[in-house]
Symmetry: C2
Subunit: 288 residues, 2 copies
């Protein structure tokens, strides 16, 4: 649906995007990239610079994404609810398993890492906040998908905005759906070298008040240290605790006569994510 849109603002955002992707650029290079007149881009950059959205390096005469963007973005994370409140539990978890712990949120068809506690190990999964991961090939992504109705899953997978290399084959798609069912049953997702070679992870959702998934909590490490049983045992209670911090109340008794089981497997601390809508027939909605 092509909506009417402000082209000038679009240009500004495109400029920032290009600068973020290609690194600091000179005026002419950027104008070239944007396919806009040099004078236009000049004015645009001046405006952005005035507001701190781009920084200018007089030495190299290049413009780069400004730190003001970082500042604004940080408030997005705080205000979104994945901020200060959750880092404490994440640190605790990282300490217990001695591995990297990260918090990823579903955004624009992929998982965006918003918080990260690094493992003290030298050899570790090197993923920084601000990184994106594919929904279908990351533990966090699959954990988030598992919280949604099958129909929603299809919609999300089809709008994958990721580079082609990360696209999914049909064979993978079918395997994924089976995987999702398994994830729902056992309460956590697992990923073995699907996204980055040598890196494996487990993940489970953090739920918010309404029972919707706020984010996915994950433990990742080099596959050599991967220990599914121990990590899942540490991960699930931690996520549970974080869910409670986010207002999620472990189930009420008089709920949902629709057959959806908001049940809690295992230690009673762990939340098995399941929305009411995902209950309808399992052969439904493979299409679209």
């Amino acid at each position: 649906m092509p909506e009417r849109t402000l082209s000038t603002v679009g240009n500004a955002i495109r400029a920032l995007t290009v600068l973020a992707d290609l690194g600091p650029l000179r005026l002419t290079a950027l104008a070239d990239e944007l396919k806009l007149g040099k004078s236009t881009v000049h004015l645009l950059l001046q405006t952005l610079r005035e507001h701190g959205m781009v920084d200018y390096d007089p030495a190299t005469r290049t413009y780069g994404v400004g730190l003001r963007v970082f500042e604004l973005g940080a408030t997005a994370v705080e205000r979104g609810g994945f901020g200060a409140r959750l880092v404490g539990p994440m640190e605790e978890l990282a300490r217990r398993c001695n591995e990297s712990v990260s918090l990823g949120v579903l955004n624009a068809g992929s998982v965006l890492i918003v918080q990260r506690i690094e493992s003290p190990e030298i050899l570790r999964a090197d993923i920084r906040p601000g990184t994106r991961m594919p929904l279908h090939a990351s533990a966090s992504g699959k954990a988030l998908l598992a919280t949604m109705a099958d129909l929603e899953i299809d919609r999300l997978l089809s709008e994958s905005p990721l580079p082609d290399s990360a696209r999914m084959t049909h064979r993978q798609r079918n395997g994924l759906l089976a995987d999702i069912r398994l994830i729902r049953k056992r309460g956590y997702a697992k990923q073995k070298e699907e996204f980055v070679d040598g890196i494996s992870a487990v993940a489970t959702p953090v739920l918010t008040a309404g029972g919707r998934a706020l984010a996915a909590l994950s433990i990742a490490s080099p596959s050599s240290r991967f220990d599914e049983v121990r990590w899942s045992a540490l991960l699930l209670p931690a996520a549970s605790y974080m869910s409670e911090l986010c207002g999620y109340r472990a189930q009420r008794e008089e709920q949902a006569p629709n057959g959806a089981g908001h049940m809690f497997a295992g230690t009673g601390a762990n939340a098995v994510p399941r929305r009411k809508e995902d209950r309808p027939s399992r052969e439904q909605a493979m299409s679209s």
Copy 2:
């Protein structure tokens, strides 16, 4: 100097700023705040939403700063050079002193925290990445000021963009200049409850290739655990090591501080605090 500027882009940025400051807002509230027509803001928000710069919450019908901004901002930090490379040493330092370690950069007249390693202690200075601190009342700020010519210091202090509460009295200003001289001599800055009650810190600059300050490294904690001698002893070698990572080469006695052509040497004040000479040979202990 009133430059010609793109008002539409300015509106977009103002909108983001307001949303960051006041939290998620409804359309009307935002239009009110920006003093623009509702239809204008409607179109503006649609454009921003299309690009992920604002997120829309259908439940509350509010718009907030989008996570795309966070993503873009993260690249600003990486590309700026305060990214992945420096977190290792910071973690090592945090482990050694058991306190919170942060990296702040001079930006728009104040110090912006770009990296942060939290102390494991429960009682700790709670400052998150994206926070700003005043130049004159934070250890990091003073450390950065100390690397600059006196003339530059005056210029920066006068353009302080901070809330009035954080403004500086003349008495403070004079004290500050004396402080700066002391900082240059001993190689690190100290701050005792000047910014946040109960929090004290030490800080020292991280230098880059040209000898200019890239950022300030600091250790902060509740004043009860403040230990100036131990921390400075840990801080300085760490910063030294990080400076080398950033291309700074410990320098021989040279470089005509007065006289010749450099733009910052014009005032005759030396721009670079020599840290290495203060505390000789001990730093390479930092690992990994």
